[in-house]
């Protein structure tokens, strides 16, 4: 089912906005981790970036669950 067709999605644009924000952080932290690994400068920086990715992925999951809750 397309998002626009989802019947119980109050404030759909807000949900999309929230997901975009989480993805934004995920992508940039993934880019950071990759660059640090490429340069063999991984250390704590890459680990922190990976932690953020995991946190933000969980946040995305929660937003998606909210969308599936009947409105």
């Amino acid at each position: 089912m397309k998002l626009q067709e989802y019947p119980g999605a109050p404030g759909l644009s807000k949900l999309v906005h929230d997901i975009r924000n989480e993805l934004n952080a995920i992508v940039m932290n993934a880019e950071l981790a990759r660059l640090l690994l490429q340069r063999q400068e991984a250390g704590d920086g890459a680990m922190r970036a990976l932690d953020v990715i995991l946190d933000k992925s969980s946040a995305c999951g929660r937003i998606l669950e909210e969308m599936q809750e009947p409105g």
Binding site: V16, R20, N24, V27, M28, N29, E31, L35
Partner: protein, 448 residues
């Protein structure tokens, strides 16, 4: 390396992006609120700002509004979750602002910086000016000479020639530390111009609820650009003169003067003759402002630059919109055949309008059927003020004498240019009875 301000309240995003940009060799400051961003902008000059629209204490647009109008502004990239914001951004803030839709990725960010570097390297002199004509090369030489000095500069040139761009070029070449501060004297109310220029103390007048720093103070150790300087009321010009003479400013309602160190670049679209005749600028102020006067040539005196300018404007539009339009041969011929009375501003307007009107699947720019705007009036020869007050006969004598002098007393050529027969020319000279006096030659009889 670019100086970057990243404005976003999402610490997870801004921390990572800041580290990434630093690893790529840029110098990054981060702000999480409108207030923090404004504070950062007060103290530093940035090449690029990444700006989230939704901030805890306001909108990213509030940050844009706090940029000094017309100053040496940074490029701004709005980070938005709404692609629809594109048109709003472009229409409100022009060509120096673009947008990226979340989620961002490193490639798109890298491309922005590569485009910046390419744009700056694409024959932009002093980071601002486009053109390789003789007139512009002469201008560049003058900028190179005056930039390292502290001399005040007066830019003279027609409307639309790009005087503010030249001011920015001088500021850029001077390597001054801060932003160039710009103001249009025609836009400042006569009641508040003193406060705008010199600042005011709290309670100096009704509505002065707090101390305010003036333009001179803001431009300390930098450049102050005063456009349309001749629009400043004559009654206020002595105040400006005093600051220029003493390098000291006293805020309105204040007692103590404090030193300021800034170069003033002023601009006017009046000619030197008009400055004198229209009495719109005090003579003593002129000499303080125009320590180094620079004439900015109109576009018709640098027609060779039209392809470069048109290409530069179109390149920007292509980059902003992901297109690859070019200017076709016929279109370029039309662009270079037109006189551009509105100068570079009119050319840019035509290119922008044509870009919008060009079909999405076209490969070349579709120019309008004719070029004109309500303001791009054709120049009509005006009556020289030298002629006012003279009789027609006196004017005719001067015209004949001048034409004969131009053609070294060759009456046949002079008659052709004047649109009369040689016989008529001789008759006129004889009628004046002063052939020798008028032309400096003898033997004025018509050779039968």
């Amino acid at each position: 390396m670019a100086k970057v301000l990243l404005v976003d309240d999402d610490a997870a995003f801004s921390d990572a992006t800041s580290q990434l940009l630093t690893l790529l060799g840029h110098n990054v400051d981060v702000a999480g609120t409108v207030a923090q961003a404004r504070e950062q902008l007060r103290g530093r000059a940035y090449d690029r700002i990444f700006l989230d629209l939704m901030l805890p204490d306001g909108s990213g647009f509030h940050v844009l509004e706090s940029l000094v109008p017309g100053a040496d502004q940074p490029r701004v990239t709005i980070i938005t979750g709404h692609p629809s914001v594109k048109n709003h951004v472009m229409s409100l803030y022009g060509m120096n602002v673009n947008y990226l839709v979340k989620p961002l990725d490193l490639q798109r960010i890298k491309r922005l910086f590569e485009d910046d570097a390419r744009s700056e390297a694409s024959e932009r002199h002093f980071g601002q000016l486009v053109g390789e004509s003789g007139a512009m090369r002469s201008l560049y030489r003058q900028i190179e000479r005056v930039a390292p000095t502290a001399a005040n500069v007066m830019l003279m040139g027609e409307s639309g020639v790009g005087k503010e761009m030249v001011a920015r070029a001088i500021h850029y070449a001077s390597q001054a530390a801060g932003h160039m501060v710009a103001a249009n004297c025609g836009a400042l109310s006569s009641e508040l111009i003193g406060s705008e220029l010199f600042g005011h103390e709290k309670g100096a007048f009704t509505g002065a609820v707090a101390r305010k720093s003036g333009l001179f103070e803001q431009a300390d150790n930098s450049t102050l650009f005063l456009d349309e300087i001749t629009e400043m009321p004559l009654s206020l010009q002595p105040n400006l003169l005093r600051v220029l003479e003493t390098q000291m400013v006293t805020r309105v309602g204040g007692i103590e003067a404090f030193p300021v160190n800034c170069r003033v670049i002023s601009a006017t679209n009046r000619t030197e003759r008009q400055l004198y005749e229209e009495n719109c600028l005090r003579e003593d102020l002129y000499y303080r402002l125009a320590v180094f006067p620079i004439y900015v040539p109109p576009l018709r005196e640098r027609m060779d630059d039209i392809p470069l300018l048109a290409g530069s404007f179109l390149q920007y539009l292509n980059r902003e919109n992901g297109t690859s339009l070019t200017v076709g041969e016929e279109a370029m011929k039309r662009l270079t055949a037109y006189e551009w009375p509105g100068n570079v501003r009119e050319l840019r307007h035509v290119i922008q309008r044509a870009y919008i009107m060009t079909e999405p699947d076209a490969e070349t720019l579709a120019l309008p059927s004719h070029f004109s705007s309500p303001f791009s009036r054709q120049r009509s020869p005006s009556v020289s003020s030298d002629l006012i007050g003279k009789t027609i006969e006196e004017v005719e004598r001067e015209l004949i004498a001048g034409t004969l002098k131009q053609f070294e007393n060759n009456k046949k050529k002079a008659a052709e240019v004047l649109g009369v027969s040689v016989k008529t020319l001789y008759n006129r000279l004889n009628a004046y009875g002063e052939d020798n006096e008028v032309t400096g030659i003898s033997g004025s009889s018509w050779p039968e």
